[in-house]
């Protein structure tokens, strides 16, 4: 009886586990549809920010997806301070961040672009 309820309990968790893993991994196809706010700077080769300091925007294609997510979270929380990135990251959900990270950090990015 105990074993049975244990099995039922574990089985009931499976969808939740599967869902959380899908969320954590991010969907590169969904991510590609969410790049409108990114592409204007990160999608232009050699683009420089003009405010608050002039320097080249970093290349993010091929970066570790988990690192991209952490960077976005740090901008959203204010831990990293760049005005545009803070505003953009604040508008992103955890799912958006994971999807964008999966798209930009995806393996196929190594051959795409320059």
């Amino acid at each position: 009886m105990l074993a049975r309820s244990l099995i039922t309990f574990v089985l009931s968790l499976l969808p939740a586990i599967a869902w959380s893993q899908a969320t954590a991994a991010g969907d590169p196809v969904a991510g590609q549809r969410k790049t409108q706010m990114c592409a204007g700077c990160h999608g232009i080769d050699g683009w420089r920010t003009a405010f608050p300091e002039v320097y080249s925007v970093p290349k993010i294609g091929g970066q570790h997806p988990a690192y991209i997510v952490r960077a976005l979270q740090a901008y959203k929380s204010g831990e990293r301070s760049h005005p545009s990135m803070r505003a953009i990251a604040a508008s992103l959900s955890d799912k958006d961040m994971a999807d964008l990270a999966a798209y930009y950090g995806g393996a196929e990015s190594k051959t795409a672009g320059k």
Partner: protein, 112 residues
């Protein structure tokens, strides 16, 4: 004599400017030596770090890398590990390292 004086001061100014420019210019070899000492263990010597805890640096923009190091050093960008390492770097070390990692085969790309 007046034009001569102007010419001399112009040449002196140019020489001073060139000296300053040379001092500020990055030394990629020195950057590599410093990378072996300070950065390699986490970011890899070619900047292609194998773990997601450490960002890839190979082929990243030189001026972005330098800004990141300056911000870590000043505390503008907060990271306990990078605060420690960047604190040991001189402004010249920062320029050298940024030039070195920017010159590595790009693992990073501009993705549209």
């Amino acid at each position: 004599m007046k034009p001569m004086n102007a010419l001399v001061s112009g040449l002196v100014a140019a020489a001073l400017f060139l000296t300053a420019a040379a001092a500020a210019a990055a030394d990629i070899k020195a950057g590599e030596a410093k990378a072996k000492e300070v950065c390699q263990a986490c970011h890899g010597l070619d900047g292609n770090s194998q773990t997601a805890d450490y960002p890839k640096l190979g082929g990243q923009r030189r001026d972005y890398l330098a800004k990141a190091l300056r911000d870590y050093k000043s505390g503008t960008r907060k990271n306990a590990i990078m605060a420690g390492f960047s604190g040991t770097l001189s402004p010249q070390d920062i320029e050298n390292l940024a030039a070195y990692y920017a010159a590595q085969p790009a693992v990073l790309v501009v993705k549209h």
